[in-house]
């Protein structure tokens, strides 16, 4: 019964969605306000039905109704309840439903927030959101229905179960966080689209969507960082970013979204760069749909992908329609959007923002190019080329460093134009200190990108500190406050800017972490009991090999004593080799799993993987990696979240305005 109800709510949602779009279009033509009210109510019903359908699917998953194909595929009786719940986004049809579920929640919030506002734009905004909802509803109704019954002529006693790799709390929350980010860009897109069509001139709506974009951006950033963290902790190849097409799929909208967050400030404050912002948000939205396509259609051979399905062409067609419609609209709207103001000087903060944007978009293009290169080369030359991480690293390192530099330059530039004397005054200290740091790094024996990256990090940090200092100084001079009070009031009065600087500091920390990769060491070897081996100047000795049978798996546990150069004990690592389903008579159905162990310090991580075991000779094989400075990436992540929260923290005045 419940699956039928779920299917019915999805179909009804589609029906109401179509009706709503029709009513709203009629309203746009006739201006009869009653049509708008009815259309809006229907939009609310669409969202409510989607939410009901999702809850029904959750109910089926939790109660293990294996008559539903999806439930039987992704859960089993043994699956812990929490992972039964997270199976909602483990598979294709469930994750598509989850996509439109989040969009529906966003849509309800948006409708409620703006119930008495933007009367001219609202019908268009609703139409855009409804169209996106309808697209996903059609997919879940007709292409991959999550409520599809199992096509078996026997009673299904148990389902297939969730991949153990996905049975991890980080992995459980990573996709929904990422989706919150992906889906959220639909709202600013809808507003921009509506503003373009209604030729809305004011900058008020820009304010509203800036907050939306920031929340969305935070979710997307968290999703990306969590994904990296999960890969590092679980996958056992010692890294956090592999330039996998699916990772790129989330990174590309992040890049354009970040660019948008920067340039929207200029539009809000100066009413400039409107065309540019419109293009950016459209690009970001198209990239989120494209990203969902990459993740869910399986065109790219990648660990994340699903098997081939008819979804690919449909998604691609949708992306093509979005791009075409947007391109036509922007082109037609060009004359109307032209601003009467221009950037006045190359050395102004405005142009700093513009350059940051150009660099972000360039990086996005580089990633896009690398991601779709295999497909293009297959289509054009007939040979499939796979593009590996070295390509992405080589292309993106200089672009990334340029971005890092701009992070420091931006805050030192004045609005409108920077006079020569101020230019010298503001740049001399950061540049001077950075140069001194560079010499020190060179003396330490660092070379190449490492020196550039660390030097720029010093430059950016000093630049941000001087910017804080100037702000505090100004308040101390004008209001006679103490430095601490001045600091607090300053941040409070302009949360988005100073929160932004905290985010920048987070990015610097991340860059320091990335730079650490240049010093990574990696070695694979076998050890008998009491044998030792060294990686760099760190020694590893196998003390003991234990066996243990646990409720759902069998484990070999290695006890590795780690000692430093002078024989001082650093730690004992306990990596494990596990076999899940170890009682299965068919050896091919047993599932090995390496549980790694990491010793973490600020200086670097010692990363151990128990690769395999030779039980006859009592030899265990390990993969050991020394990864300097990795922790800085995560610290940078915390800093980024903190900074964004500062920027988002509601103030009394903000409430009046949004």
């Amino acid at each position: 019964m419940t699956p039928v109800l779920g299917s019915v709510s999805l179909s009804l949602a589609t029906g109401f969605g179509i009706l709503s779009v029709i009513l709203l279009s009629l309203y746009i033509r006739s201006g009869d306000y009653r049509l708008f009210l009815a259309g809006r109510r229907m939009a609310i019903i669409v969202s409510a039905l989607v939410i009901i359908a999702t809850l029904l699917l959750v109910k089926e998953l939790i109660t293990s109704n294996f008559d539903v194909d999806y439930v039987a595929h992704y859960t089993s009786i043994e699956t812990p309840t929490i992972y039964k719940f997270t199976a909602l986004w483990a598979g294709q049809s469930g994750s598509l439903l989850f996509w439109v579920f989040i969009l529906s929640i966003y849509s309800l919030i948006m409708i409620f927030q703006n119930r008495n506002r933007y009367h001219r734009m609202m019908p268009w905004v609703l139409c855009v959101i409804l169209t996106v909802q309808l697209f996903f509803l059609i997919l879940t109704n007709f292409i991959t229905n999550p409520f599809e019954p199992t096509n078996a002529d026997f009673v299904i006693a148990n389902g297939l179960g969730l991949n153990p790799l996905l049975q991890n709390l980080t992995m459980a929350i990573h996709p929904p966080v990422l989706y919150l980010g992906f889906v959220g860009f639909t709202i600013p897109f809808a507003f921009t689209f509506a503003a373009l069509l209604t030729n809305e001139k004011g900058s008020l709506w820009v304010r509203s969507i800036r907050r939306w974009s920031l929340v969305t951006w935070l979710a997307l950033s968290c999703g990306i960082i969590l994904g990296g963290w999960w890969a590092y902790q679980e996958l056992g190849w010692g890294g956090y970013w592999a330039w996998d097409p699916v990772e790129n799929a989330s990174f590309m909208p992040w890049l354009t979204g970040t660019a948008f967050l920067h340039s929207i400030i200029i539009q809000e404050k100066k009413n400039m760069l409107r065309v540019w912002n419109t293009i950016l948000i459209m690009l970001t939205f198209a990239l989120t749909i494209f990203g969902t396509f990459l993740t869910r259609s399986g065109v790219m051979s990648s660990v994340h992908s699903f098997t081939e399905s008819p979804l690919g062409p449909i998604f691609l067609a949708f992306v093509a329609i979005i791009v075409t419609v947007c391109a036509i609209l922007v082109f037609q709207g060009l004359p109307k959007m032209k601003s009467d103001k221009h950037i006045e000087s190359l050395t102004s903060r405005e142009s700093g923002f513009l350059f940051n944007n150009v660099v972000f978009v360039t990086m996005c293009f580089a990633v896009f190019w690398g991601t779709i290169f295999p497909v293009i080369s297959e289509a054009v030359r007939g040979t499939k080329i796979t593009v590996g991480p070295p390509f992405f690293n080589q292309v993106n390192v200089p672009i990334g460093l340029l971005l890092l530099m701009l992070t420091g330059v931006g805050p030192l530039l004045a609005w409108r134009r920077t006079s020569r004397s101020n230019f010298i005054k503001y740049f001399s200290i950061p540049v001077g200190l950075a140069l001194i740091a560079a010499i020190v790094f060179l003396l330490f024996g660092f070379r190449g990108y490492v020196v550039i990256s660390l030097t720029l990090s010093v430059f950016v940090v000093v630049a941000i500190i001087t910017e804080f200092k100037r702000g505090i100084q100004a308040r101390v001079n004008r209001f006679g406050e103490s430095s601490f009070v001045a600091f607090r009031t300053m941040v409070r009065k302009n949360r988005s800017r100073y929160g932004g600087y905290f985010v920048h500091l987070g990015i610097v920390l991340m860059f320091i972490g990335f730079t650490g990769q240049a010093f990574n060491l990696k070695k694979e070897f076998g050890l008998g009991i009491n044998d030792r081996e060294h990686v760099g100047d760190i020694n590893f000795e196998l003390k003991q090999l234990r066996e243990e049978e646990r409720p759902n798996h069998f484990a070999w546990i290695a006890e590795l004593l780690v000692t430093g150069k002078d024989g001082n004990s650093i730690t004992t690592l306990l990596p494990e080799k596990r076999i899940y389903f170890h009682r299965d008579p068919n050896p091919d159905r047993r599932q090995p799993h390496s549980e790694l162990d990491i010793h973490t310090t600020l200086k670097g991580d010692i990363y151990s993987v128990f690769s395999s075991i030779d039980t006859d000779n009592g030899i265990a094989f390990f993969q050991i990696m020394i990864n300097p400075l990795v922790q800085f990436v995560w610290y940078g992540g915390y800093m980024l979240v903190l900074g964004t929260l500062i920027a988002l923290w509601p103030s009394k005045r903000e409430k009046l305005l949004t």
């Binding site: 009653r34 049509l35 506002r117 009367h119 008020l204 609005w415 100037r470 702000g471 100004a474 005045r653």
Partner: protein, 87 residues
């Protein structure tokens, strides 16, 4: 039962269509609201550039120019609000 529920929901959604013609608030209400908020933003913006000037993120000439522009826009908006609300 389900059918009744569906009919109720459907009726709810098309209910507004049967009311008399409703005054479309999209024009003056929207404008007034927008003007009020624009005014608040402008007040803030003036405070903001004062602070920016103190910090040194804006040189004297540009500061004076920007401030004059902002003050001018604010007074225009106040005048407009007065005009609309007196009607």
């Amino acid at each position: 039962m389900l059918f009744c529920l569906f009919s109720l929901v459907f009726l709810y959604s098309i209910w507004p269509l049967f009311k008399g013609i409703i005054f479309n608030p999209s024009n003056s209400q929207d404008t007034l609201d927008a003007l009020e908020r624009r005014k608040t933003i402008l007040y803030r913006e003036i405070q903001y550039i004062d602070a920016e000037y103190d910090i040194g993120n804006l040189n004297k000439e540009d500061y004076n120019l920007t401030r004059t522009e902002l003050v001018q826009e604010t007074s225009d908006i106040i005048a407009e609000i007065k005009l609309i609300s007196s009607n």
